[in-house]
C-alpha cells in the first residue's frame, strides 16, 4: 500500500539497482578523471609510460649502504636504493622500539613510584609532540655536533661529528662464510632442541637446559670455528684525511635522526601497549603461580608474558605499520628513502608524477601487507588454542 512502485520495495531489485548505480557513477567518474588527465598530460607534453625508469638519474644519493650508487645510474636503481633505505630504517626502528617499549612498559609498572612517574612523563611528552618535529629536532641536535676535525672519539675507534658516526668497517675474509654457516646451523639446531625438549618435558616431565645449550651452540661453536680458521675478519679504521674521514663505515646523521626519533616515538606507544597487556593478565594468575612456588622471573616469563602477548600483538602490529609509514618523513631531513629519493627527486626530474606516486604507494601497500601477513601468522600462533 505504501507505493505504486511495487518492484522498488523488492529487496533484491533494490540491491541490484543501487549497486549498478554506484558502479555506474564510479565508472563515469573514472572515465571523466582519465580523460581530463590524459588531456592535461598531453597539453603539458608529459609522455606516460615506464621508460623513464631506464634513464640516468643524474643526481647523487648521500646514503646508500647496500648498493653502490653513481649519478649515472638509472631511476630504477634510485627506487631500489630508496626501498632498501626505507626498509633499513623501518626494521632497525621496529627492533629498537620494541626493546625500548617493552623495557619502559615494564618499568612503568614498577612499584617504584618515582621511576614509574618518570616513564609516564617520557611517554606523555613523546606521544604528544608531532613525530616530524621530533625528527627535525634530533637532526638539528646532530648537526650541531663538533666538526669533523674536533670530532668526539669513543673507545678510540668511533668518531662522532656533525657528518655522522664513523666506525670501523668489518672486512670479511675468505673463511668467514663458514662461521656464518655455523651460526645459521646453530640457530636451527637450538630451535630443534627447544622443540624436542618441550616435547620430552610434556611426555616425561624431565627438563633440559635449553637456554644454556642454545647459548653454547650459537656463540661458542662459531667462536671456536672463528679462531680455528685464523680469525678471518679484520677492520678498516676510519682515518682523518684533509676535511673528512676516509674509509671505515659511516652512519649519516639523517639516518641516526630518523632512527632515534622513530624508535623513541614508537617506543612510547609500545610501552603503553605492553603496560595494558600486562595489566590485562588477572591478578589471580600471578598469585597462583607464586603459590606453586615459581620464581619471580619465571612468573614473568612463563605465566604473565605469554598471556599478555595475546593482548599485545595486534596493536603492536599496527605500531610496526605506523613506524614503517612514518619512515616516509625522512624527506624532512633529507634521508634518501623511497619518498625522498624516488617520489621526490626522481619525480621532480622526470615529471612522471602519476607513475612515480603509483609505484611509491604500491610499494608501501605491499610492505604494509607483508608486515600484517607475518604478524597475523605470529598472532595466530600465540592465541589460545581451544582443546
Amino acid at each position: 500500500m505504501r507505493s505504486n512502485l511495487g518492484f522498488f520495495s523488492d529487496e533484491k531489485f533494490r540491491s541490484i539497482f543501487f549497486q549498478t548505480l554506484v558502479v555506474g557513477l564510479f565508472a563515469l567518474g573514472l572515465f571523466f578523471v582519465i580523460s581530463t588527465t590524459s588531456y592535461n598530460l598531453e597539453k603539458r607534453n608529459i609522455a606516460t609510460g615506464w621508460s623513464f625508469l631506464q634513464n640516468p638519474a643524474g643526481f647523487d644519493i648521500s646514503f646508500s649502504p647496500f648498493l653502490e650508487f653513481k649519478s649515472t645510474d638509472t631511476h630504477l636503481k634510485v627506487y631500489f636504493v630508496g626501498v632498501l633505505n626505507t626498509l633499513l630504517v623501518s626494521i632497525t626502528g621496529c627492533i629498537a622500539a620494541t626493546i625500548l617499549g617493552f623495557i619502559l612498559g615494564i618499568v612503568r609498572l614498577s612499584s617504584n613510584w618515582l621511576l614509574s612517574r618518570l616513564v609516564y612523563i617520557y611517554v606523555e611528552f613523546s606521544r604528544n609532540v608531532p613525530l616530524l618535529l621530533q625528527i627535525i629536532l634530533w637532526y638539528s641536535i646532530l648537526i650541531q655536533l663538533p666538526r669533523v676535525k674536533q670530532s668526539l672519539q669513543v673507545l678510540d675507534v668511533f668518531y662522532i661529528s656533525n657528518r655522522g658516526l664513523y666506525s670501523p668497517r668489518p672486512i670479511f675474509e675468505s673463511g668467514f662464510s663458514y662461521v656464518l654457516i655455523a651460526i645459521v646451523l646453530a640457530l636451527i639446531s637450538s630451535f630443534l632442541i627447544n622443540r624436542w625438549a618441550k616435547k620430552r618435558q610434556d611426555k616425561t616431565g624431565q627438563q633440559f637446559p635449553v637456554f644454556s645449550s642454545s647459548i653454547g651452540l650459537i656463540f661458542i661453536v662459531p667462536l671456536i670455528l672463528f679462531f680455528i680458521l685464523g680469525s678471518p675478519l679484520s677492520f678498516e679504521h676510519p682515518e682523518l684525511k684533509g676535511f673528512n674521514f676516509k674509509g671505515g663505515l659511516v652512519i649519516r646523521p639523517e639516518f641516526i635522526a630518523m632512527f632515534l626519533a622513530l624508535s623513541i616515538y614508537t617506543a612510547a606507544f609500545i610501552s603503553e601497549i605492553v603496560r595494558a597487556g600486562i595489566m590485562s593478565v588477572s591478578k589471580g594468575q600471578r598469585e597462583a603461580s607464586a603459590a606453586i612456588g615459581l620464581k619471580q622471573t619465571w612468573i614473568m616469563r612463563l605465566i604473565i608474558i605469554p598471556q599478555a602477548l595475546r593482548v599485545i600483538v595486534p596493536p603492536l602490529t599496527s605500531q610496526y605499520l605506523n613506524l614503517t609509514k612514518n619512515s616516509s618523513l625522512g624527506i624532512a631531513v633529507g634521508y634518501a628513502d623511497l619518498v625522498h629519493g624516488f617520489g621526490g627527486i626522481s619525480l621532480n626530474q622526470t615529471g612522471q608524477a602519476i607513475e612515480c606516486m603509483a609505484i611509491v604507494m604500491a610499494t608501501y601497500l605491499s610492505i604494509s601487507l607483508t608486515i600484517s601477513f607475518f604478524m597475523n601468522i605470529y598472532n595466530r600462533s600465540i592465541q589460545f588454542k581451544e582443546k
Partner: protein, 377 residues
Amino acid sequence: MNEMNEVRKPPVATTGIIGWLRINLFFNWTNSLITLFVIYCLYQFIPWILDWTIFSADFKYNYLGEQITNQEMCSRNLDPENGGACWAVIYVRFYQFIYGFYPRVEVWRVNLAYVMLAFALLPLLYAKLPYRKYFLYFTYIFPVIAYFLLNGGLGFTEVSTNKWGGLLVTLVLGCTGIALAFPIGIMLALGRRSKLPVISMMCTLFIEFIRGVPLITLLFFGMVMLPLFLPEGIDMDGLVRVLVAVTLFQSAYMAEVIRGGLQAIPPGQYEAAKSLGMSYWRMNLLIILPQAIRISIPPIVNTSIGLFKDTTLVIIVGILDLLGIGRGTLADTNWLGLSYEIYFFVSLVFFIFTFGMSRYSLYLEKKLKTGINMGAD
C-alpha cells in the same frame, strides 16, 4: 564497649606520608637505591633545565637591558657564560606563529574566529552545558561563518590562503579535517558493513588503501596529481588540496574506529529496529549510530590527536603551519641558531593541545564506563 573491640590505630610507618614513602620509594634495598639514583639524576638535571629555560633566559631584554631584535643580541651569544634560552625570538615573531602573514588590520577576524571556535566546541565537549541545543545550532553554522570570516567575502576583504600560517593553519587543517572526516567516515563504515557486496568491497578497498600508504604520499598526491585530474580552469588553492588529502586520510581511520563502535552494538538492536518496520536509514540514524558513535568517541578523539600531530606534515609540501613558521624563522639570518628555543615553543603548543585532548578522551572513557555499568543494572 569492651577492650577487645577497641579500635587500634595502624602502625605509624604504614600510613600517612611515611607509609607512602616506604611503600612507594623505599620498599626494599634495590628499590631504595633506584630511588636515590633517580633523585640524584633529577637533582643534576632539573636546576640546569630551569636555569636554561627561566632564570638565565632572555624574554624580551638581554642582560644588558637592551631589547633583543636579532640573535646576536641574545645574552648567550654576547657572553656564553651568562645566558640561557633566548625566548625573545618567540616574542618578536609571536604574530607569525599565531597568524602567519595575515594582514594586521584584518587580524581581528582571526581572533574572532578563535573565540567562536571555542564557543562552537563547547557544546561538543561538555554534554551538560545549559542551553546546549542552541549552542549546537551555532556549532553547525560555525564552519560557514569561519569560512567567510577568514577567507573573505560577504563584505570582508579577501585574504588569500597563502597569507595564512602558523597556528591558524594548524587549527584550520586539524578542525576541518576532523569535521569533514566524521560524516565521510560514518558513510564508509556503514558501507563497509553493508550487505551489498559491491559497495562493501569498494569501501573496504578505499579504507585499506588509504591506511596502507603514508600520509605524505597522499599529500604529494593532492599537490602533484590532483591538478592533473581536474579539468582546466579549476585551479585549486594549495590549502584546499592539502585539506582534501588530509580529509581522505582521516576519514579512512575514522571509518575503522566507527566500524569498531558499530560492531559493538548487539544484533538485538538491529532486529528490534527492523521489527518496528524501520527502513535502513531510519534504523541507522535513530537507533544504531547514536549508540555506536557514543561508544566510539574516545577512540575518535585519539585518532583526532593523531591527525592534529600529522598536520605538521604539510610543511613538506610548502604550507606554513606552526612548525613551518618555526623553520622559516630559523632560516632567517636574524634568528639563526635558535633552534632549541623555537622547537621547544612549537612542541609546547602542540603538547598543550594534544595532551588536553588525550586527558579529555580519558575523562570520556571513565564517564562512559560508569554510564554503561548503570545501563546494565
